[in-house]
Subunit: 566 residues, 2 copies
């Protein structure tokens, strides 16, 4: 009898089980073993915030197949012929011996097991701020099933009144929503000037306004200095600026770092960002060891640079690649990520793919052009909801570099479209006449996505001289006095307006009221409306009438991230 190949997978959350299952499907004869420190397997960890928030009540739904079977060791054995050893901690990898040492947590029993191929899927560990009091009762993360159980209990008991979420990233915001829905008074603390750093500032600010509108408090530009407590229990957090916020619960969500302890001790190469270094086959510096998921560094497909991208979808895809390569030979590649992500924020969604303007600048990209577009996702008569998109492209080639989108509209569809456009290496010109599924229940006749490409084309061709809300705001703060025209109707103006010194001249009246405009044809004029479509038409009319310095405020009032007069 020929020796069966033994494939050991360390880690049973997302990437690990996927790698094991794929390895099994590729090699029906191999012995496939998962070793998992925790008791649970294959938890839908991205679903924790929704369990905590009460979107569903049955905890088992996080652990079940769609058919309702709990993914426990028996399931893995019977359905997949995979030996899943839970409550089993791998304590060391002996590279030269091709073996792992493990310890059974229940019995304390230890042992070693040889492998032919090893797949490391040890995930990431939450960062904890290095401040006093971090061991007080009432401080948690939302990283494990245990955390989810704890926070769900907090929700169900309803005894906690005030909580602080430390960190305004994706998990911080999802946790904020979950606890807010549980009736807890929430404050989100973020060290940086904005929430959700995958967005540029102005879009993040609109999301922040939405979070506040739901009753949650947000403090940016401020970090935590200490956890304060009494009798071992948290009763406040102290911020770096001295403020003390009373609270009985603090959820820490300031990000994660790759869990590379085992890999490092085994002598595997660790990358500059702290993740396990892998090649395109998901193979580590040791040829018989693969690594996948939140513990590795991957490549940004646009910049070619290494990134740490701890996303559940990438973990699954990497697992599939490593599973196949480990079970046969290196034959499939993982191409990296364009860092596509999305996050529910109460009635909004916020998503991004590719490079934001900030990220593009950080990566040293030159001659990047951006545009902001605001519009409904569907016609008004089908109850269209707002989308605000910021698109980033290379000015010379027109190549799409990235897109961010926020709002109550169908953000996921927009981001999916941009993600595919980036993966197809498409340019603005390619998208001008994109053929997308149109019917009034699903989109505008010219979809928000295509309209965004149109505006970008107009900007690149020099037809649209755009200016961002932020630039307009900065000008006004600096004491500049551009001539500002709101081109909407009087009723709209009465209902909502910026109040930044603008003159109301409805587009339909503009051509007759040119005498109200500055005599100086070189005077800076800035036009806008609700979404700046009429603003754009107004600017073209004014240019036609001889004014030479006319700009359009991109996205109009819907993209204005500052307080409005009304």
């Amino acid at each position: 009898m020929s020796k069966r190949k033994r494939i050991i997978v360390i880690g049973g959350s997302a990437a690990g089980p996927k790698a094991a299952a794929k390895a099994r499907r590729i090699d029906n004869d191999a012995e496939v073993i998962i070793m998992q420190k925790d008791a649970d397997l294959s938890m839908a960890s991205c679903g924790y915030p929704y369990y905590v928030g009460g979107y569903f009540d049955d905890r088992n739904m996080l652990l079940c197949t769609p058919a309702g079977v709990v993914r426990n060791p028996l399931f893995y054995l019977n359905a997949k012929d995979i030996d899943a050893e839970v409550n089993t901690e791998v304590t060391a990898i002996a590279v030269s011996k091709h073996s792992v040492s493990f310890r059974k947590l229940a019995t304390g029993e230890t042992g070693t097991l040889a492998y032919d191929k090893l797949i490391i899927a040890t995930g990431a560990v939450p960062r904890i701020p290095p401040v006093p009091g971090a061991d007080l009762e009432g401080i948690t993360t939302l990283q494990s099933m245990r955390d989810a159980d704890f926070l769900r209990k907090v929700r169900d008991e309803g005894s906690i009144k005030k909580a602080v979420v430390i960190g305004g990233g994706l998990i911080g915001i999802e946790t904020c929503e979950a606890l807010q829905l549980a009736g807890i008074e929430i404050t989100v603390i973020e060290l940086l000037p904005q929430l959700l750093t995958f967005l540029d500032w102005e879009l993040a600010k609109i999301v922040e306004n939405h979070v506040r509108s739901k009753g949650a408090n947000v403090i940016t530009d401020n970090g935590i200095a200490a956890f304060l407590g009494e009798n071992g229990k948290l009763n406040a957090v102290k911020l770096q600026n001295g403020t003390e916020l009373p609270c009985e619960l603090a959820v820490v969500a300031i990000g994660v770092r790759p869990n590379v302890k085992l890999a490092k001790e085994a002598g595997l190469k660790i990358g500059e960002l702290g993740g396990i270094e892998v090649n395109e086959y998901m193979q580590t510096s040791e040829p018989d060891i693969y690594a996948v998921g939140d513990c590795v560094e991957t490549v940004n497909r646009i910049t070619g640079k290494k990134v740490h991208a701890p996303y559940g979808d990438l973990a699954n895809l990497q697992g599939r690649v490593a599973g196949e390569n480990a079970a046969s030979e290196n034959c499939v590649k993982f191409p990296g990520t364009i860092q596509t992500g999305i996050c529910k924020v109460f009635d909004y969604a916020a998503g991004s793919t590719g490079l934001s303007e900030t990220n593009a600048a950080r990566q040293g990209l030159r001659d990047v052009v951006t545009v902001i577009n605001a519009s409904p996702d569907k016609p008004g008569f089908m109850e269209g909801k707002l989308l605000v998109t910021k698109l980033t492209a290379d000015r010379k080639t027109g190549k799409i570099l990235g897109a961010q989108c926020i709002g109550p509209g169908n953000v996921a569809k927009q981001i999916a479209q941009w993600a595919m456009a980036i993966q197809g290496k498409l340019t603005v010109e390619d998208l001008i006449n994109a053929d997308l599924p149109y019917a009034p229940p699903f989109s505008l006749a010219i979809d928000h996505f295509i309209a965004t490409a149109h505006i970008m084309q107009n900007k690149i061709k020099g037809r649209l001289k755009g200016i961002s809300c932020q630039e307009v705001h900065d000008k006004l703060q600096a004491g500049e006095k551009p001539f500002l025209i709101d081109t909407r109707g009087p009723e709209e103006f009465e209902e909502m307006r910026l109040g930044i010194g603008e003159t109301l001249i409805p587009l339909g009246a503009l051509r007759k009221r040119l005498n109200e405009l500055p005599d100086d044809k070189n005077k800076e004029i800035i036009c806008y409306c609700k979404i700046s479509l009429r603003g754009y038409e107004a600017a073209l009319a004014l240019e036609g009438a001889g004014w030479k310095n006319v700009k359009v405020m991109e996205g109009g009032i819907m993209a204005w991230p500052y307080p409005r007069e009304k």
Copy 2:
């Protein structure tokens, strides 16, 4: 004073106004004139079924800008500096004189007007079946604002009890839904064996089942032979097989043909499909005349062949191209269509992009491989809804040729993703590791789209031997006796099952119950489950155990278009 360029646009629905507006924006000095036979301008005609169905009550929403301004001649004059002449029929184009003749419908006044550039946007006219009785009262189309007003009145009055919709295409189905929601008993008649011919038969059949489940009757493979009536009023339709269906209302929706009367009389070249021939600049055989929208033929970007694609989104995009070229010089191109479309069908949507299997065969494409995938669009704990996708690819290159998707899930997002993938000329391999926006409120960790690519990859690599429900059904009808295994659990089987002679062997029990399988290792075995994920794992296990002719029924029970036992 230099002579102003005059651009005349014939037609004021979708493509015409878009062309006029773009021409105005490109050339601020030009004189831009729209001539429109009807009274209304720029009607959101794709919204008619939703107005009829009562999704909204304010008729003006079909005629308004998002800001609520009716797009009438005054609006065009003031906001866009465009002269929109409504109730004005263009009666002839004199190509050699560069002029059009027109007649004012209100006064009978006639005249001629010279143009520098002409843009024809005369749309399409509904086909009417050449059968007796077509002039009876109670027969309508849903093509004009007048039709919409009429049918909305039918809804509001509530006096009509029975109606027949002739034609099971996009508009027929949308009309069926609208009238069904109005409490009218509906029968849809379709000459072909299926509804919605942009879908392949098996997906169309699932949609048909859904339509029936809503209480509407569907008759396929049968056309209309006559409209029957009394005192000039419709009281029944007679079908080709002799059946008479009593009804007080018939809506004809058997498609449209390009309205090319003017163009033809002017000597412009008409294509083989009956539309005005245009080049990539949307220019007709006369260099100073452009044509756009439902009256033209365009190019299928995948096959390079001419098609008539009367879609509102393409009309708008073509208008933008022609407007710019007419206002400056030929500088922008329209690349054609991949025939992306979508349609709401009660709680389902049905969409398609690129080539269906049927269309690919009709176009003579060889070596096309297809796969069907069924799965929820989101995790169960976020109330995921079913999607069924059929993907078409070129077997040799893996290039995506087309995708169809139906179901209550987010079909629009799926189709949008496939449409972008086709426009990016991506292959199955390119999509295996697609980076899409994942979070539980929006998708599965491995999105339905990516999973479909995975299944296609497995099929192309020979790992998945797929068989369609249709092929299984045909085999059984032909008296063949494959060994059929339903790999779900007993409770699932109790709740729903095909009842086609299958044996229930849950995946988890399969490896222990191999003795129940045929001794003959060459016997044909077909595995399936609800969506055939477990079916696939079962097939691999059986192949591992030595059976050589094991197939997976693609899409499982969810893709089964025939009646079920339970």
